[in-house]
Symmetry: C2
Subunit: 182 residues, 2 copies
């Protein structure tokens, strides 16, 4: 059974492909429910996908959680980027002088309606002034704990090794191998 | 043909009933798409509603737009209230010393898929420290321009007379009368 990664983001697909090997990109436009719980969002999308096509599916949500905003923006990050942008996010942290943040990836995997599994990866860090441009929206303002550079300043290899997406993908890969699903 | 106002909020229903007279409350759980464009959200819900039931429908979105957040939270207001709360919204405005805000209501009216009409009401104001409790989430921090009290401190009559929801409802009522739809 083909494993599809549902995403419109080529960069994310390449990162996942690099990890999992046999996976195909599937670009379908699934409605995104409004929630600040990423698992709910991913689960709703997987259930929609299962209605459309045979196969097994993965969907990921990577969100940024700011301490000064008590967990916002979370999955609402894209709307923050579209309005106040990276610089605006830094300015809020700066006004409060509270810079801690968490980057979290949730990967949902489904073969049928009744079996959805989640895999999580988290990395702590701080919000800094935008440094270096990037295809990944908030990489230029996120500096992982223990590092003196932002995600945007790292090579793809450096980032993948420590990233929240890498952690979640490792767990998914172990799960698939153990269950002999690939 | 019965006119239904789709809402789970009894307070909002009473305000609309007071204005329109013949309208029934319909509580159905329609999925809310993620967007910062309230018209898109309202339109998607109306199209869902039309699939479920015969009748004509109204759905409203009332959102708060902060200048210091370049238009956020908008329709994402409920997630801001659920995380940082009224006090948190005030604190952000206070940290930036930019207190201007707009409260906007969009009412969507539909009789069939191809004819959706929108009615808008806007009121300018400032974000103040939470004053007086209220059933309406952010009424205690919104002080309309030209007034020295917040929405939460006004009587229902005072508020309805000037409110963004009142303005939009007036436009809807004129439309319905003109088209002889009620």
């Amino acid at each position: 059974m083909t494993l599809y990664f549902i995403t419109g983001n080529k960069n994310k697909f390449n990162e996942v492909k690099h990890f999992l090997g046999e996976v195909e990109q599937l670009e379908i436009d699934l409605p995104e429910i409004q929630s600040i719980n990423p698992k709910e969002i991913v689960e709703a999308k997987l259930k929609e996908a299962l209605k459309h096509k045979d196969g097994s599916f993965i969907i990921e949500d990577t969100s940024l959680y700011l301490s000064c905003l008590k967990g916002l923006p979370g999955p609402l990050i894209k709307w923050f980027l579209a309005t106040i942008g990276r610089k605006g996010l830094f300015e809020i942290a700066d006004k409060f002088s509270i810079y801690d943040a968490e980057a979290k990836t949730i990967i949902g995997y489904a073969r049928n309606q009744n079996e959805i599994s989640f895999f999580e990866g988290v990395i702590k860090g701080t919000i800094v002034e935008p440094k270096h441009d990037s295809d990944f929206g908030w990489d230029p303002i996120f500096q992982p704990e223990g590092y003196s550079k932002t995600f945007a300043e790292m090579t793809k290899e450096e980032k993948t090794k420590i990233s929240m997406r890498g952690q979640a993908l490792k767990k998914l890969k172990e799960f698939l191998i153990k269950r002999d699903l690939r």
